[in-house]
């Protein structure tokens, strides 16, 4: 059974003979009523809004409308791609940034106590108002994130803001500098400065929580016979003892040499060994390996699961 679909004219409630400006007027009137962000509690309107937007976008193209009227094309496939409405973000955890709680003064003490929400940056009313928050975005180096640092940013009013980056800060974390936002009105407290930190990656080190990861190239003789290798850490270099008979991929843990945040357990530096051959193996290496092979070699796949198949 086929349901007769509405024509774009019916969707907008205009006659097929309507002028462009009549169509626009009808669309505007419906959009004002149905826009999802103006009706955040009413999900039914969203579908209707999509329909009228699609119909309007279809008809506002003069050539498209002419061909539709002439029966050359139908009105299908003209729906706009899914578009994210403001309310989808404003209802998320970051959403309260723009929110305004004017009018809840009588309940704000309860809400602030119960749910940890401040009085909010009410604008426009003649009451004591907390100043707005100022947001900053700061890109810092990998080392600064591990060890902590002091940074200075310029504020919109050309002032400066000194930021102490705590050791162990993570990519995407936000620092709150209380009282460094916009001044309050009518004796209200100032807002906060919110500094979102992004951490640059490093060419040598990687990070996993509070652990620092490092890949260490070793020679084949160091792998077989063991040895002492100097390894860089963020607290200076340390000697690492390679155990006799170490394969590529073996992980060595340097206790307490990772990230050391003030109030968390210090992480470790985890060194992954990687056997590296010279770019062109010289004669001595080749003859040593030939001797190994002719004397029977060894089977690295003795316990390998791949043998079972």
């Amino acid at each position: 059974m086929s349901v007769k679909t509405k024509t774009p004219y019916e969707t907008l409630g205009v006659s097929p003979k309507a002028s462009d400006s009549e169509i626009k007027k009808a669309y505007k009137a419906l959009a004002k009523k149905l826009h999802p962000d103006l009706n955040p509690g009413n999900t039914g309107n969203e579908e209707r809004f999509k329909e009228i937007s699609a119909a309007f976008n279809f008809l506002k193209d003069k050539e498209q409308r002419r061909r539709y009227d002439a029966g050359e094309i139908d009105a299908s496939g003209q729906e706009k791609p899914e578009h994210a409405y403001y309310r989808q973000y404003s209802s998320g955890p970051q959403g309260h940034r723009y929110e305004n709680s004017a009018g809840y003064e009588d309940l704000n003490d309860i809400f602030a106590q119960a749910f940890g929400q401040g009085a909010g940056g009410a604008r426009g009313a003649n009451i004591r108002m907390r100043g707005g928050d100022l947001r900053f975005h700061l890109k810092i180096g990998f080392r600064d994130a591990v060890k902590g640092a002091k940074q200075r940013v310029t504020t919109p009013d050309s002032g400066t803001l000194d930021i102490t980056i705590p050791a162990g800060i993570r990519d995407g974390q936000t620092l709150r500098l209380a009282g460094r936002g916009q001044p309050g009105l009518n004796g209200g407290p100032p807002g906060d400065a919110l500094v979102e930190i992004s951490v640059a990656s490093d060419s040598l080190f990687m990070r996993d929580g509070n652990d620092i990861l490092l890949e260490l190239p070793i020679s084949i003789d160091e792998a077989v016979l063991g040895g002492n290798v100097t390894v860089p850490t963020f607290d200076g270099s340390v000697k690492l003892k390679i155990p006799v008979g170490s394969s590529s991929g073996r992980k060595m843990r340097l206790k307490g040499r990772g990230v050391k945040p003030a109030r968390e357990k210090a992480g470790d530096q985890i060194v992954t060994l990687r056997i590296v051959l010279p770019k062109t193996p010289d004669e001595r290496l080749k003859s040593a390996m030939k001797t190994l092979r002719t004397s029977g070699g060894y089977d690295p796949r003795a316990d390998w699961k791949g043998n079972a198949t």
Partner: protein, 109 residues
């Protein structure tokens, strides 16, 4: 995070001069970085809403902040109601007794 340039190419109906107005009027408050303003998803969705208000609904620049302010207040109110709802919890007995109590103390305006 998006730069000003990326915002202009992804929000249809937002011109450079419109974006300037949005920032100077504090309709959106992007983060400040050494490279210039940086916009997160919330900022971009808000800019898209502003663009639709001005272009599709004929809202003029005097009315934009009024509408934004009302939407912001509505969102705050809804968030508080949701928080309250979560705090009350799903226990049907508690919900019913709370409803009864509210009915008994509500003064009809």
């Amino acid at each position: 995070m998006m730069t000003e340039k990326e915002v202009l190419s992804s929000v249809s109906g937002m011109s450079r001069s419109s974006l300037k107005i949005c920032i100077s009027q504090s309709w959106v408050t992007p983060a400040q970085a050494t490279e210039g303003a940086m916009f997160d998803e919330l900022d971009v969705a808000r800019l898209r809403l502003i663009a639709e208000l001005r272009r599709d609904m004929g809202v003029n620049d005097d009315a934009v902040p009024i509408i934004l302010s009302l939407i912001d207040q509505l969102n705050a109110a809804q968030r508080r109601l949701r928080a309250l709802d979560r705090a009350i919890g799903q226990d049907p007995d508690r919900r019913r007794s709370l409803a009864d109590w509210l009915k008994s103390v509500t003064v009809q305006d």
